[in-house]
């Protein structure tokens, strides 16, 4: 590991001390394994993923495990979140009748992603699990398998093909071209963008926060203190902004999930 890849906090390097700015980079997203279980080397991201899962289950178990008709405080909060996704996302896109079946999936997806994003601003953790492509990719893959199989189940082989290609006779001569593009777009680009949208947002957000945090420390020397204060202020602003982005991205992910399912269930037109 070269010196400029070390995190600023781990050194006592400041501006005017003759050492370069330890800029964050891809290496900021790679962690050394903490321990190994059954051949899998557990690193920080995996641990946070598991801890996040436990936290979600713990919270919702406390909220819904012994739910009452007259809710307590935790149940009320849990219900607000649950109802927001159920009514605001699932019922809105799939309708109450068709959507009911997908409520557990969409609700758990939303809270899983949100908590994974939230790790970004939680002290000591301070790393969004979803900024590692493997996590969004796994979730996008589940959704992909779900909606593709749903399409086959609902429309049969030919119907599913028409659904994927957006088959429309009225297009005439451009139909083959349109079908090719649609097929490509739906089956290949869609799952990719679905995962990357979440990943890239969290990746960039984390990079920005790390950048300003490191800069605050690095600039803390002599006249640099003035710059450091601006950088620190930016860190706070970015944290607040990230809090917003984390929720939005989780929301967008489940909303798209619902749209894909809706497309799979839609009648041919």
């Amino acid at each position: 590991m070269s010196a400029d890849q070390t995190l600023a906090f781990e050194t006592n390097c400041h501006i005017f001390d003759g050492c370069g700015f330890p800029a964050p980079g891809l290496h900021s997203f790679v962690f050394k394994p903490i321990f190994t279980v059954a051949g899998i080397e557990f690193n920080k991201a995996m641990l946070l993923a598991l801890l996040g899962s436990i936290a979600i289950i713990w919270f919702f178990w406390a909220a819904f495990g012994k739910a009452k008709v007259v809710p307590g405080k935790i149940q009320m909060i849990g219900e607000a979140g649950y109802d927001f996704i159920r009514r605001g996302v699932v019922y809105e896109t799939l309708g109450k009748k068709e959507g009911e079946k997908y409520v557990p999936l969409v609700v758990s997806l939303f809270f899983f992603i949100w908590v994974m994003n939230l790790w970004s601003v939680i002290p000591l953790a301070q790393f969004p699990v979803t900024s590692i492509i493997a996590f969004p990719a796994g979730l996008a893959l589940i959704v992909y398998v779900l909606w593709v199989s749903l399409t086959f189940k609902r429309h049969g082989l030919v119907g599913a093909f028409k659904n994927f290609t957006g088959y429309d006779k009225s297009l005439g001569p451009v139909l083959p071209l349109a079908m090719t593009i649609e097929l490509f777009s739906n089956l290949l680009v869609r799952p990719f963008t679905h995962a990357v949208r979440l990943f890239a947002n969290m990746f960039a957000g984390h990079l920005l926060i790390v950048m300003f945090t490191i800069a605050s420390w690095y600039l803390l020397n002599g006249i640099g203190i003035a710059y450091a204060s601006v950088s620190f202020l930016m860190t706070i602003v970015m944290v607040v902004f990230e809090l917003f982005i984390q929720a939005v991205q989780a929301y967008v992910f489940v909303l798209l999930t619902c749209f894909y399912i809706q497309g799979a269930l839609a009648e041919e037109h």
Partner: protein, 183 residues
Amino acid sequence: MLLAEEKLNPLVPPIPELVIGTIAFGIVFVVFWKKLVPSINKILDERREAIEGGIEQANDAKLEAQQTLDQYKAQLAEARREAARMRSEAEQRGADLIAEMREEGQRQREEIIAAGHAQIEADRKQAAQQLRQDVGTLATELAGKLVGESLEDHARQSRTIDRFLDQLEEKADATAGTSGAAR
């Protein structure tokens, strides 16, 4: 410990993370699917029923209250009508009673007056009768004393008295007739 920079590609998912991430989500999903969502849905349904039941009950209560109010209003109106009727009836009866009593009083007064008249007449007749007898006796006694002898012949004596009395009556009648004419 860190991979070389050129080997890092953020878009290539590392397999261990993929597996762990999917398992982590899988656990969350299964818990939600099997336990939490059914549990909360049941409660939400119960709550909705409770609320709908409450609203229904409230509506029933409102309806019943309205009915009771209408009933009371009807009863009140009925009572007012009844009271008015009774009052007018009482007034009527009172007036009748007064008229009746007045009539009765009038009748009794007339009866008393009539009885008084009859009594007076009877007394007068009796007095006249008595007087006639007394006058006869007195006159006979007087006449006997004046004549100096007893008038033995009773028959003659009676005739004389009667004749005398008739003359007296004729005289009295003449006097009454003149006085009545004068009035």
